[in-house]
Symmetry: C2
Subunit: 264 residues, 2 copies
DNA sequence: CGATCTGTTGATATCCTTCAATTTTGGTGG
DNA sequence: CCACCAAAATTGAAGGATATCAACAGATCG
């Protein structure tokens, strides 16, 4: 059951880039077959160590983070089911940040050869994975904007919106409500704030009937107002469909491959 | 002359990933042949518009940035000669940020087919370009760390170190001195500060003999102390050589290609 | 050689942090 | 089911880092 949801998350997410063919879906589902499990609050990957192979996060939640010399922590991104992590990282000698779990989390490792094969012979999937990497990069940029130019209210509202929109995109949000297993300290470490201040902001949001948040359930009550506070514009998530040019290009590649096969 | 420097920048930068073969260098030099020029403080690429094709920045300086509804600006990254920009961006319908010049800037556009060809038939160059993209992503993460967890002194010191190290890597820094054509407002917009505050920090740095900065020349006088203030660790720039495994992999690919050619 | 952009300075305001205590929550074993 | 414990959330008071505002000086450039 969990496995099924997990696959759905990956498929649901990549479908925002473009329609996948049945064989693509089958392939992606097969990729997620052998899972590995990590306890809550443990490291999947550690700063300074060689990168692990690519993986898909199939259930749970994790984050990329850095520890500072004085012990403070900066969360960089959150990883949710359907996220395909660290494409290309094998090019690096060592990780420049860590990846740690929030909850019990399952990942499906994707071998280097598999990735290479996907990129060489499955252009539609390859393009979708590249798109997914672009999306993660865009989220990094958006976080910079948040930290640089939004006040605490804006930052909190923006992060909540982002998490909800991402979970809508991977099919695990229901009416702007999601599971949010983060502590206020986690939020603070992601937003460059203190947990005390995050607490006060959240309480204001609750008082103003913008959200409810209790027992790891977040619900956005007043989406327009929150978007206003956050200056949230979903465009950076690039959830719209593929540019026509790319569709044509992929169709072309497919034809090439078909004719190549006939020749064999 | 400028062109030569420009090529050197690209070659110098990519050489930090791994030794390039003569034919790779020739190919990369040829890529930078047809340049296009942009006046200072103009846009190369604009938020909301379709992405332009990939390009190499061959001379000058530019930045990625976002404009906020209230008119404030957040600079995301600086682009310097040798930077290869927007691999994969053709997958997106529209830009989520703008790219603007600081100085008069030249770029060499790389057509989509060229990029595709490089990735298909020049694995060493392809790997180097992917590495370069990873490096840019790592710089985004590092900026998040700066904005989230470093105070103004740390942020300024870190950015100055980053710019100097990057220019060392592309061969345009001499003894920790670089050309820095940024206004204090530019720095402030990159660091999530006000120009007034950046000014005061810079003056302190000057008073403490940590830097000199005048007439667009920056020199780091006390590198260890600056690194300490910045908590700067160059590891995230991944300037060391390639993991052995990757070298082997590339060597393998090369052999495959050679034997394939023989068969023809 | 004047106009304009950039850098500099000082006074005041504010957002957010820090510190420290208290309450609530959630989990665990008896 | 309750007692207990640790972690998380909450609250208040005080301090500090950075912003804001406004004025002026200095640089740069046609």
């Amino acid at each position: 059951m969990v496995g099924e949801n997990a696959q759905n998350a990956l498929i649901a997410k990549l479908s925002h880039f473009g329609q996948l063919k049945v064989e693509d879906v089958d392939l992606l589902v097969a990729l997620c077959a052998k899972e590995e499990s990590f306890a809550p609050r443990t490291n999947i990957s550690t700063e300074g160590e060689p990168p692990r192979s690519d993986f898909v996060l199939t259930s749970g939640m994790a984050c990329r983070y850095r520890l500072m010399p004085n012990g403070t922590r900066q969360l960089l991104t959150f990883l949710i089911p359907g996220d395909f992590c660290d494409l290309r990282s094998f090019l690096l000698r060592s990780m420049d940040h860590s990846i740690g779990t929030i909850l019990e989390t399952r990942i499906a490792a994707i071998g280097r050869q598999t990735v290479t094969h996907l990129f060489a012979h499955h252009p539609r999937i390859a393009a979708a994975l590249r798109w997914s990497a672009m999306q993660e990069e865009a989220m990094l940029r958006e976080r910079i904007v948040s930290l640089g130019r939004r006040n605490a209210h804006g930052r909190v509202a923006h992060l909540l919106c982002e998490l909800v929109w991402r979970q809508m995109a991977n099919g695990s949000s229901d009416n702007h409500a999601i599971r949010l297993p983060l502590t206020q300290t986690d939020l603070a470490d992601a937003l460059g704030l203190t947990s005390v201040h995050v607490n006060r902001v959240l309480q204001e949001f609750r008082r103003d009937r913008l959200i409810t948040l209790a027992r790891q359930r977040l619900k956005l009550l007043d989406v327009p107002k929150l978007q206003g506070i956050a200056e949230f514009n979903r465009d950076y998530l690039h959830l719209d469909d593929t540019p026509i040019e790319v569709s044509r290009y992929l169709g072309q590649l497919e034809n090439d491959e078909l004719s190549a096969r006939k020749e064999l």
